[in-house]
């Protein structure tokens, strides 16, 4: 499947109630002395078109959650499903294909290559989706237009401000129109005004149909999103998807089933 086809899937994807991203009793233990239990039987479902923030202090497990949602790492126990596909049953190659077509990543450190132009960086987001170079550059120019940076296409990343760099990174993440965008502390390296503009951009993306999940330690950021998932010590302690905005699962535990 090409990213262009993936982009075409956008209209025909399952209705909003179907989870694009599902975690069922997911635990992640990092080996060591003593072993670190970063996630402890976490369950979570994100439906298509949602905008959610995962908030929590460092060490709460939110980064681990992002790794698992992005298929960059595998859980020790439990099931992770991305667009309905069980990650544990997929080969490394299939997971790479899944990331190429269906998941866009935005990182705190931007990770832009200095050896090429802004347009080239954005086009690299489609490199592993099997699209020809010319088409990659057209889609990249289009994505740059969506983040308002079409006029900086020829610039080098070093010539851009921090906010502009993060916009380029977002353009790279959305160039193939993936159904899910995972943003890891997207405002962490930016001042508050620039950060707010980046959040507004992510909201715009979400309004256009993309599922956006933002990982942040900043509660002010989390407060802006419709759904807030708060984490502490490997557990979800609050998930406003329950509708109440209060803690679920007996205060400290999310719903635990089948354990």
């Amino acid at each position: 499947m090409t990213a262009a086809q993936a982009a075409g899937d956008l209209g025909g994807r399952p209705a909003g109630t179907v989870p694009v991203l599902e975690l069922e009793n997911v635990s992640k233990v990092y080996p060591g002395q003593p072993p670190v239990r970063a996630l402890d039987r976490v369950s979570l479902a994100v439906t298509a078109g949602e905008l959610a923030a995962v908030a929590g202090p460092s060490g709460s497990g939110k980064s681990t959650l992002l790794h698992l949602m992005g298929t960059l790492d595998q859980p020790t126990a439990g099931t992770v499903r991305i667009t309905g596909l069980d990650v544990a049953r997929m080969t490394d190659r299939e997971l790479a294909g899944l990331r190429a077509a269906r998941i866009g990543f935005v990182f705190q450190q931007f990770f832009l290559g200095e050896h090429q132009s802004v347009l080239g960086n954005v086009a690299d987001g489609l490199l592993y989706a099997g699209i020809r170079r010319g088409q990659r550059r057209r889609l990249a120019a289009d994505a740059l237009g969506r983040v308002g940076l079409r006029h900086r296409a020829a610039a080098r990343p070093t010539q851009l401000s921090g906010g502009e760099r993060q916009r380029v990174a977002i353009a790279r993440a959305i160039a193939g129109r993936p159904p899910v965008v995972l943003a890891d502390e997207p405002t962490g390296n930016l001042d508050s005004a620039t950060g707010t503009a980046i959040l507004a951009l992510l909201e715009e993306l979400n309004a256009a149909g993309t599922t956006v999940i933002i990982i942040t330690h900043d509660h002010a950021v989390a407060a802006r999103t419709r759904r807030r998932i708060e984490m502490l010590d490997g557990h979800i302690i609050t998930d406003t998807a329950a509708g109440t905005g209060t803690a679920v699962g007996g205060g400290f535990r999310h719903v635990q089933e089948g354990t």
């Binding site: 499947m1 090409t2 993936a6 899937d9 025909g12 994807r13 399952p14 179907v18 989870p19 980064s63 790794h67 992005g70 960059l72 790492d73 499903r81 667009t83 309905g84 596909l85 069980d86 049953r89 997929m90 490394d92 190659r93 299939e94 790479a96 294909g97 899944l98 990331r99 190429a100 077509a101 269906r102 998941i103 990543f105 990182f107 450190q109 990770f111 290559g113 200095e114 050896h115 690299d124 987001g125 490199l127 592993y128 989706a129 099997g130 699209i131 020809r132 170079r133 790279r172």
Partner: protein
């Protein structure tokens, strides 16, 4: 597209994605990132391979160029020269060629020219009578026929050769080495040398003779003059035979020469073909060649270690790039291919520089020695192939390490 079976049936409509292949052009662009962003480092690390390939190309190129030059000279001189020399008798004394031998040989079909020299023994040559008799300069005095230079593969450097008139007079022509040893570099009117109480006037100096180096150190005098002034017995000691320029004819004449020159004792005659010995020399490899090829191989080995080292460092430095590419959807294989291709490209760039360097060195040498520039295809093709193989071997381990990095390790550890 393959569909992985067993995914939760409740969420239909999404099929398992299949990773796309990287196009060759994209892989080449990826491979060149390291070279483009760190030019100095790339240049230095490719230097070892460049030097190794340059040494190998230059050694093979120089050998091929000088053998091509020798073959060209042989071609120009002709391969149809046969020489007949007096061999030895069964008792070990020097045999004599019959005086009639040249005339007999000339009757063989296919023979176009027969010239001969006869060694005049016991005669030494001096520049003047005042030179001490011990300083003979190791020159020989030979009687020679008037058509000798053309048949023996030489020509006049200066002056004139013996002719029907001067071969009867006390007149001499010097071989190239003989002239040098006597300190004569130019023929002037009235110039003469002293041999056995007699002045001989000089008329010419010969060019060096590739086929018959024995002529170089000889002082040549006509047969009649040698008999008249130096008590020469008139027996030829070396006969130069030219045949029709057809290899088959030359070979046939070759096989008949012994009997024709000395029918009574054909085994006392040595027949040889000077061009054969030179061709063998053209094919022979110099002793230094092996040494330099060995040095080239060592340079290639050191170059390979340099490339491997630089690739290991590159992988360590570019962890975040590797992590990002994995997040963007690169498979392990694609990461491995990127770094393997980078090592090969680096090594190939070194190899190409080495081929250019080695060719330039050979060209400079060949020009200095007025030789043709010949770079054997196996030298440059082999050099490039060696560079590719070395790059692949040197890059394999770093590429595998890069591919083994987990995306989370690569992205979140600095």
């Amino acid at each position: 597209m393959t569909t992985t079976s067993g995914h939760s049936a409740g969420t239909a409509a999404w099929a398992a994605p299949v990773p796309a292949r990287l196009r060759p052009g994209d892989l080449a662009a990826l491979a060149s990132i390291g070279l483009r962003t760190r030019k100095l480092r790339a240049g230095l690390s490719a230097l070892g391979i460049a030097i190794g390939v340059a040494a190998i190309v230059a050694v093979l190129g120089l050998a091929a160029s000088s053998s091509a030059a020798l073959l060209a000279e042989i071609q120009a001189l002709g391969t149809n020269l046969l020489t007949v020399t007096n061999g030895q008798t069964l008792t070990g004394t020097t045999a004599e060629l019959p005086a009639a031998a040249p005339g007999m040989i000339a009757r063989l079909p296919g023979v176009t020219s027969v010239q001969d020299t006869g060694t005049v023994s016991g005669v030494d040559v001096y520049k003047s009578p005042y030179i001490p008799s011990g300083e003979t300069n190791a020159l020989s005095v030979d009687a020679a026929t008037v058509g000798l230079p053309a048949a023996a593969g030489t020509s006049l450097a200066q002056g004139r050769y013996l002719n029907a008139a001067t071969e009867r007079e006390p007149v001499a022509v010097l071989g190239a080495a003989a002239a040098r040893r006597l300190g004569i570099d130019r023929i002037r009117p009235g110039m003469r040398i002293w041999a056995r109480g007699q002045w001989f006037y000089l008329t010419g100096i010969l060019n060096p003779d590739t086929y018959a180096p024995q002529i170089d150190s000889a002082v040549l005098i006509g047969f009649p003059a040698a008999e008249k002034y130096l008590n020469f017995d008139g027996n030829p000691s070396e006969i130069y035979v030219r045949t029709v320029n057809t290899p088959a004819v030359t070979t046939r004449v070759d096989s008949l020469l012994g009997y024709q020159a000395n029918p009574e004792n054909p085994n006392q005659v040595d027949v040889s073909r000077p061009s054969d010995a030179l061709m063998a020399q053209a094919d022979a490899k110099g002793a230094l060649d092996t040494l330099f090829l060995g040095l080239g191989a060592v340079a290639l080995l050191v170059g390979a270690i340099g490339v491997a080292n630089i690739m290991v460092i590159s992988v360590l430095e570019r962890r975040s790039e590797i992590g990002l590419r994995r997040a963007l959807g690169a498979t392990r294989g694609q990461i491995r291919a990127q770094f393997l291709a980078e090592a090969i490209l680096l090594s190939l760039a070194g190899g190409a520089a080495g081929v250019i360097l080695g060719t330039a060195a050979t060209a400079a040498y060949a020009r200095g020695h007025r030789e043709l520039l010949v770079i054997p295809p196996q030298a440059w093709a082999g050099g490039l192939a060696a560079a590719i193989i070395i790059g692949a071997l040197a890059g394999l381990l770093p590429a595998i390490r890069a591919a083994r990095l987990s995306p989370t390790q690569a992205l979140w550890t600095v």
